[in-house]
Amino acid sequence: MELDIREPEGRISKKAVTVWRLSNTIGHGITLLVFAGLIIAGSRFGWWDWAMTVLWVFGGLTALSAVYSVFIEPVILQRTWRYGADEEFVKLRHGVITVQHQTVPMTKVQYVGLEQGPLLRKFGLYTLTVGTMGSNHSIPALPEQEAKEFRNRIARLAKIREEDE
């Protein structure tokens, strides 16, 4: 039974799927290469059996998680991401296996920022970060126009202060 919490409307860019696929391929690819190198070295130089077993087990697990995080996760994650802000709250909802709903009062927002790594730049996307007193939350992969509008909106709304500070 799903939670009946009114979710925000905003969606992140469809291109996020490609970006995540690329970055996960690179990340997992490097890890797999390291494992492959170790396994080859191990069989050449006759390492202990238990070390080889451990390498095969962890290598296998990495390969499985690579399949999941390259082919399956990006699609679902992109589809399930929602963000939004009204006068009073910034709301986020995301998650594949565990669905997270987050509510941050506008008055508690300390800063908003945009970030762009090389991959995101290639696709013209931005990551928006909302920082509060205690933590920060990121909305990944927003198109430039939306990212800037949303940032300005939050920056304007977050000007109000609470009595207790």
């Binding site: 009946d4 669905v99 205690g134 933590s135 009595e163």
Partner: protein, 516 residues
Amino acid sequence: MENRRMHPGRIILALYELIKNSAIVFIFLFVLRRGSDAGWVVAGRWIFIAAISISILNIILSWWRTTYRLEADSVQIDSGVFSRKHRNVPFRRVQNVNRQVPAVLRLFGLTSLTLETGADGEDASVKFPAVTKAEAARIEEALDGYRRERMEAARAVPGTESVEGEASEIQEPLPEKARTVHFTAQLKDVLKASFLSFSFIALIPVLATVYSNIDDFIDIESRAEGFLSFLAGSGFVMSITIALFALAAIAFGIIRTYLKYGRYIISSDDERIYIRRGVLTEQSLSVRKKNVQAIQITETPIKRLLGLAEAKLVTVGSFEDNLEDISSLYPFLPKQRAVELVGELLPDVRLLDGMERLPKAALTVRMLRFPWIAVIGTIALYFWRPEFPYVPDWPFLAAALFSFTYLLRYFDYRNTRYAIRGPLVQFRKGGLWRETFLTRREKVIEASASQSWLQKRFGVATIGTTNRAKPVHVEELKDLPGAAAEQFDRWYTERNPELIPAGKEAEPWKTLQSES
């Protein structure tokens, strides 16, 4: 307003600390090696004298060069002997005030005062290491005056300002407000505290430190061995020694507890809560009721057996060492009394009774969760196979680990309660250690609700709150019914705190500039 220096007692305090820290080196160089004229000892003495002289000079100069000034809305501090540093700490950032009065300062009738802000890093607090009590009161009054003025300004019609009124209010000491004393530690409280905190065990590390320190200089090992064999020779002498040691340990524990928890007084007035404690070193905290972010009540297994509990105020400021538990409302109170105390101190917070229990489905979910620690522990046991006398074989250990894990889960399920009512939310959880957490909606700076795949199958969810503290206080309650999580979400979005209109904050600066 004029610049002021710390009381010259600051120099005495710093000198005392210098002596305390360098005493061992002094004893070593000038007492134990007094006859020696080895090169390194002689060089060491000269270096020591030089270092001490520089430190003393530095202490005096830095006292001379450190000044502070109270403004209408902030405190300005200038410090630094050569490179000057200016700090401006707005009063609105100050969350609570604490004092730590070591015995040395008390001899001179002085006190130290620390203003804690919510900021991070080294500028998080402003410390006045030695000021007279009257001056400390003046600083606190300046804080209160500023706050009152701001509250009134918020209430008054915008546009009607009274700059004159503000200034005079701060200079004149305000009339003493009536304080209510809520709790004073009696002798029986101290005795209870000393046994419950196992303070008598503390004698052992103290003895060990003394022993190893003496052993560095004098070879007592061989003497001790002779003494031990003498003891072992006679059962009578042995038992008397053990009895004496036990007595000494208990006496030591009681004295130690008395020095820390003795003269524990909790009081309050309309605005603030005051906690003070300590006999030789006096520690105190004064926190605005409005700045208390949450209440936490902890019951350890022993305290639960005896019906005791510790209530703690969650506040924003961070505390230096030895002070971290100053926000506790006496750790060894009967639970009922602790609950009443919270109600007396914070009129707008009341511990809720009749909390909801978790549904049966929560127990199922909890039992189905993968027992990571037990499984990893079992794998480790399988490979390690510990073989010690009196320790059973690994399968028994693994079985014990699993049953302990599941038993704790069951206890936790039984103990967990929650209530979302009016402006308050309250959680209780814990298997053996039980913890109750209570906060107001306005104090929650972030709320979350989440649902894992497993929880979704059974219609339960997790909710979480984040409160200001250092580091932030995150509280989570797992496996409450989905409907309750939805209710929690709605409850939070009805949050309605007092707001300060944008731009209001900038105003005091205008008056400041015109003054200077």
